[in-house]
């Protein structure tokens, strides 16, 4: 490396996961001197996206830790990659082979932790209010499906969907509209249901079994045991996000979920954050219960505060080990699970079945920038019971096979869930550990966590105020200084 890192910062952030990146952007935005550093040579950590080549390499990397920082508690585990096509096909063949698929490697953006965004969720609001939205593009999910009575069914989301759905009877249509309206108006009284399940509530509403299925498993994304109030909250969230950007409440970030951390990192860099990937992180400099700096290669770098991804922390910082895991599968397929004239971006909410947890299935076509033309990438995400292979067996058996879409390539793995752990127990006071990906469909909880951590570190500081548009920055004379630019940004903000 030609350059030496500066050696004094207000805050050092290790790891480029979503929460770390949001904190980085927020700290740079208020003028803190930020060093954002990663031992990986890519952005995103456990939230990253990879091309086909890279994810295969990731799967073969041995779980070894050299003298560097980090622990193995949160490593991706149980990687199993399998090809379902021949390694080569005759030159004139139009069938996919291992070789022809790998030739398209860089057209794939395969997410470790695929996420959607609620169109009116906290995350989208933050993207807009902070002006970070300009770094990424989104595509709306075009249909929501569920698995009902042994087949795929479209979930009626909006009023027009309800009426257009020919699997729903006229009486059911009225019932569903009545329920949506009641929830929307907020006049409904739920206090009798405080100790009951959402299913009990829907049953009391005299909804038919099919409607209960749509609302419970798809719209509210609940299980049979979800408390009523949670179910109501989820349903309202779904309904609130309708009609903003598309036919469903959901958006997906173009080129994969790995783009999200990069958007926050870009903002951080624009506001002066120093970025260094692929760094030889050796250890932390501690003085009793106080963090003082890090050792990076031969350099010692000082800062008053350290924020790091839990997977980057020294083992003795981790008091509780992960109790549960996220089961994941990524499939490359040659057809949509439900073929249609136009390319769909599909969310399938697969209900719990035979002791297996409910599963989120996300099918992405080439318009999302995550795979080549004529192929699909299918993500499966669920709370792990036995292991990814077994947990998804029934779903994969139902969705793929002869006469249906074929699987060309599959990849299974588990991500330990660090979100239900107390990560504060063994850490010095000025060190904050960030959890990795959670099971949520969206980033709203990650935003809440990042904001809470930021406010804890920098009390009374504004969290990601709107960044000025380039047009708003008027640089006067030759040596406009930083304060001047900031001032313009502030005044631009109040004018709005």
């Amino acid at each position: 490396m030609d350059y030496e890192l500066p050696t004094e910062f207000d805050i050092i952030i290790i790891g480029t996961g979503v929460i770390e990146s949001i904190i980085s952007a927020a700290a740079s935005r208020i003028g803190k001197r930020v060093l954002h550093i990663d031992s990986n040579n890519y952005y995103g950590g456990l939230w990253a996206s990879f091309n086909l080549d890279a994810i295969q390499k990731l799967a073969t990397v041995e779980e070894t830790l050299n003298e560097g920082l980090g622990n193995t508690f949160f490593n991706v585990k149980n990687f199993e990659i399998e090809w379902h096509i021949p390694s080569e096909t005759p030159p004139e063949s139009t069938e996919w082979s291992r070789q022809s698929l790998l030739k398209e490697s860089r057209r794939f953006n395969l997410d470790l932790a695929p996420k959607l965004q609620f169109a009116r969720g906290d995350f989208v609001e933050l993207l807009i209010s902070s002006n970070i939205a300009r770094y990424s593009e989104y595509r709306s999910v075009s249909r929501v499906l569920t698995w009902l009575n042994g087949q795929l069914e479209t979930v009626p989301c909006s009023r027009s969907d309800v009426f257009a759905n020919n699997k729903v009877t006229v009486i059911e249509k009225r019932m569903l509209m009545k329920l949506f309206l009641a929830l929307d108006s907020g006049e409904e009284d739920y206090h009798n249901y405080e100790n009951k399940t959402f299913r009990a509530f829907l049953t009391d509403k005299k909804l038919t079994p099919n409607l209960i299925h749509y609302v419970l498993y798809a719209i509210a994304m609940c299980t049979d045991d979800t408390p009523c109030l949670q179910g109501i909250k989820n349903t309202k969230r779904f309904l609130d996000s309708l009609g903003r950007f598309g036919k469903t409440p959901f958006l997906f970030s173009m080129y994969g979920s790995g783009e999200i951390t990069q958007a926050f990192c870009r903002l951080s860099a624009v506001f002066g954050g120093i970025y260094a990937l692929n760094q030889p992180l050796k250890g932390l400099i501690l003085n009793g219960d106080n963090f003082e700096g890090i050792t990076c290669g031969t350099q010692e770098i000082k800062a008053g505060v350290l924020v790091m991804g839990a997977e980057k922390a020294p083992p003795h910082f981790i008091k509780q080990h992960p109790k549960s895991s996220i089961a994941r599968a990524i499939l490359i397929t040659d057809k949509s699970i439900m073929e249609s004239e136009k390319e769909h971006l599909t969310l399938l909410l697969y209900p719990p079945e035979g002791g297996k947890n409910s599963c989120v299935v996300l099918e992405l076509g080439c318009l999302t920038g995550t795979c080549p033309k004529d192929l699909f990438v299918v993500h499966l995400i669920s709370r792990q019971v036995e292991g990814p292979q077994n947990d998804f067996k029934h779903i994969i058996g139902n969705l793929f096979g002869p006469e249906k879409a074929n699987i060309l390539w599959s990849c299974y793995f588990s991500i330990p869930d660090s979100n239900d752990l107390d990560l504060t127990v063994e850490t010095p006071k000025n060190v904050t550990l960030c959890p990795g990906p959670d099971l949520d469909l969206d980033y709203d909880d990650a935003v809440r966590k990042a904001k809470a951590m930021f406010t804890d570190i920098f009390p009374d500081c504004e969290f990601l105020p709107r960044a000025p548009d380039p047009e708003e920055i008027i640089i006067e004379g030759e040596t406009s200084d930083q304060d001047n630019v900031e001032l313009k940004a502030e005044s631009a903000k109040t004018e709005e």
């Binding site: 209010s129 939205a133 300009r134 009609g243 002066g272 970025y275 920055i473």
Partner: protein
């Protein structure tokens, strides 16, 4: 609505210190040197130029310093129409790094992106890379080539005008990387309901 017909995204890459920001500032504001603090908070610069009596808006993105430790985000390259790869003619290492930059460009940028190689700082007297060496490199890699001086304002206007003209030509022959055939602009103030087949961009 702004008064322009075409909007092109141009991104700059190259080693730290080769003068990327200076080129952008010289072109968009006529300033040199730009002053260090002033880049804080600046994401991209905009200049509208005339090509064949059409208004063309160039959105020129700088690296925000992420090139210093080889940490440019992949998303920086997405949706770029033109890419300017800059080296310093008085600094051999900045030229030696070009293959690394090309590898990164191949990996992340659209294969159709217009690529321009720029040797900057021709005002310097301690030249280390002869013009023909840069020229040959550009030819070998199918790039345009130009030598500039942001300090003396030499060839800077020409560089960006050439890019604007070429992109216009490509746009007319529909040979442009097509990113937004079905995108919808979305911003916080007015919410739009787009067709589900569309891709959205919040502003």
């Amino acid at each position: 609505m702004d008064d322009y017909k075409f909007l092109f995204k141009v991104v700059l890459v190259g080693n730290a210190g080769v003068g990327k920001t200076c080129l952008v500032r010289r072109f968009t504001q006529g300033l040199f040197p730009p002053g260090q603090g002033a880049t804080i908070g600046v994401d991209f610069m905009i200049k509208t130029v005339d090509v064949d009596n059409e208004k063309v808006k160039l959105q020129i993105w700088d690296t925000a310093g992420q090139e210093r430790f080889r940490s440019i985000t992949q998303s920086y390259y997405r949706s770029a129409h033109a890419l300017i790869l800059v080296y310093d003619i008085s600094c051999q290492p900045t030229f030696d790094c070009l293959p690394d930059w090309l590898r990164e460009i191949e990996e992340y940028a659209s294969s159709k992106v217009l690529r321009v190689l720029v040797g900057n700082k021709i005002d310097r007297e301690d030249r280390e890379i002869p013009t023909h060496v840069g020229e040959e490199f550009a030819e070998r890699h199918n790039m345009y080539f130009l030598e500039t001086s942001a300090k003396e304002a030499e060839n800077v206007e020409r560089l960006f005008m050439q890019i604007a003209e070429d992109l216009m030509k490509q746009a007319r022959s529909r040979d442009l990387p097509r990113y937004d055939a079905s995108t919808t602009n979305i911003n916080g103030r007015t919410s739009t309901v787009s067709d589900s087949n569309c891709c959205s961009r919040f502003q």
